[in-house]
């Protein structure tokens, strides 16, 4: 059966620090290296939101892109842009790795897709470091 996807990309600039209070400082340093530096660092993040859906034969669309953009802007970009990720409540006990960020974006958006369904979240942290996450579908 044919498969259509659209991937929209969104950007935000944020600071973060890889660190967990569950482990002692030297273990944090060993695991996260320079990403554990005390004052944090930052990235220009790009988030790819991939929606899969059936083609509406009349409009040629699989989802309402304007509505999707508004929701991602409100729920993701406005929340994280020009912020320190470690200060976000969702990361209070969760390390701000690309893996966890992709997972969080999935969980925030899973029931917000106007039509079609969320198929994949991608997070570009640097030009040489890219994360993808496919989570559980909406219950």
């Amino acid at each position: 059966m044919p498969t259509h996807t659209i991937t929209r990309s969104y950007k935000f600039c944020a600071a973060h620090r890889l660190h967990t209070d569950q482990l002692p400082p030297d273990v944090n340093q060993k695991i996260f290296g320079k990403c554990n530096n005390a004052n944090g660092h930052g990235h220009n993040y790009t988030v790819h939101v991939t929606v899969q859906g059936e083609l509406n034969p009349e409009t040629g669309l699989i989802t309402d892109v304007d509505l999707l953009d508004r929701r991602v802007k409100e729920l993701i970009v406005d929340r994280f842009d020009h912020q320190h990720l470690n200060c976000d409540p969702a990361f209070e006990h969760v390390v701000t790795t690309g893996e966890n960020l992709a997972k969080l974006v999935w969980e925030i958006l899973i029931d917000q897709i106007p039509s079609g369904r969320l198929a994949k979240i991608g997070v570009v942290e640097t030009r040489d470091n890219f994360f993808e996450y496919i989570g559980n579908p909406q219950p």
Copy 2:
């Protein structure tokens, strides 16, 4: 079983307008927003053609790239480059969305792959808007 793919990218510049005569003007405007503007707009389109195939152990190739390039140039690039997509016969009753463009490219190329099989079509409309389509295999 191991899987080999090659993805070749092709470019064309075209105008288009998202509009369907099947719906009244105000509904077109509501659905397509500024993409429905009367005089059209345009993009630098990039089309990704992904071919999957078995490795020829002698040549190390999965398809004949020169032949593939010639066919895509003749059937896709020469047809759409520096044209208005809405003037193409295939779009007479079909909206020129990225979804439909990806589907059309699939249908044009599905029986034109020199060896191996067409696995996916990607269409880059802007740097933040990307479509993928996997259609039915060749009958």
Copy 3:
């Protein structure tokens, strides 16, 4: 004397057709080739606005970036995005080449720079085609 510049990039998608009524059709076709095709084509344009200025020692800035962004959005992006350039009054008797577009952007922005002065306009038409213009300073 030290020189500081900031370059901000803005994007819009537009259709255009290279054509002048001052020349007969066959000459238009000869000069502009496929860019003269009757129904037009289009691009994802990127405009680079370069401002040169003196560093404010207190703020570390050479211009008011938010104000600059608002002005470019209002005067350039909102005017040309998702439009057909040939329908713009400024191009009624002027060919919509990259050269003329860069010149027009300069003329629109020359007296709109919050502080510092406009130093250069760049227009990216395709990934392999780039125009730059430096016009007369504000009188």
Copy 4:
């Protein structure tokens, strides 16, 4: 079940020539065209290494990135960077196509992934030519 991947990109510059001694010169020329030119040519290669794994709930990681980087640097980048691929023992009887290069990188790395498992190898040969390979899992 949720799926996490990380893709790390690595670069090397190398020369190569598409040629096989198993075929006569005119057949090599016919199959490989200008890529068969006697003195070879070259590329800025980018290799994408995609690792899939389970999220460590404590660290938020799926693999040890520093260790992965060290192994890819030692086993891939140091071996091929600023070299002629056809002089590598692995290519003595194997054509240096993108398909074979992706396959070789897979075979070198398949049992070197610190944790998680190798999911895909990508090879960017030029901006318009991209290869992917998914091989057999580690025995």
Copy 5:
């Protein structure tokens, strides 16, 4: 007289916050907007170092690139990568704008160019925000 330049690009990830203690909080907020958010944010910075020099007719080089790379790595990348710019002593009383960062890089490197002379520093903060600085030559 002919002019040769080479531009090398270097990357680092850093956090920063646009803020000056010389101005009250509301003025900081008004001037720097979201860049003034208390916890900071961050970027993937790219620094372009442009060296101009005379061509050595024997080697075809204008500077010693390996030595340049080592110095930029030691003096710029190692200093700022995975750090918070506001914690750097150079920014104790200086706002961490792109303008000031470019100027600081110039001042650090001006007397460190192996041969030839420093001609320009570029700082890419985001894909749409680029700074250039040409400072005073070495005394």
Copy 6:
């Protein structure tokens, strides 16, 4: 006086080796490092050709782009694409550095610009290594 430029980009893939017979092997190795490896390596080169000219008020153009493209294709791309630069007669006694390549392209094109004048040649060797050359104008 206003200044218009157009920059066209062209690509070719080539092998090269930094080496000069005028110096002993150990000095070559010391100066050129891994770029001196005996079997050579290679790059995806991009050449930027910048032409400056007066705007033709009727056509809005500063040069004949099609003619420029044909000349660069014939004189540069066809000559170097899929070749080993060191085998080119121009590099018989000249090291194939980016500096010398930019200079050679200038010298080849200086009297081939359809209208306007050659203003600059850029050579992108890798994503982090860029050369520019401005030579003597045509006599």
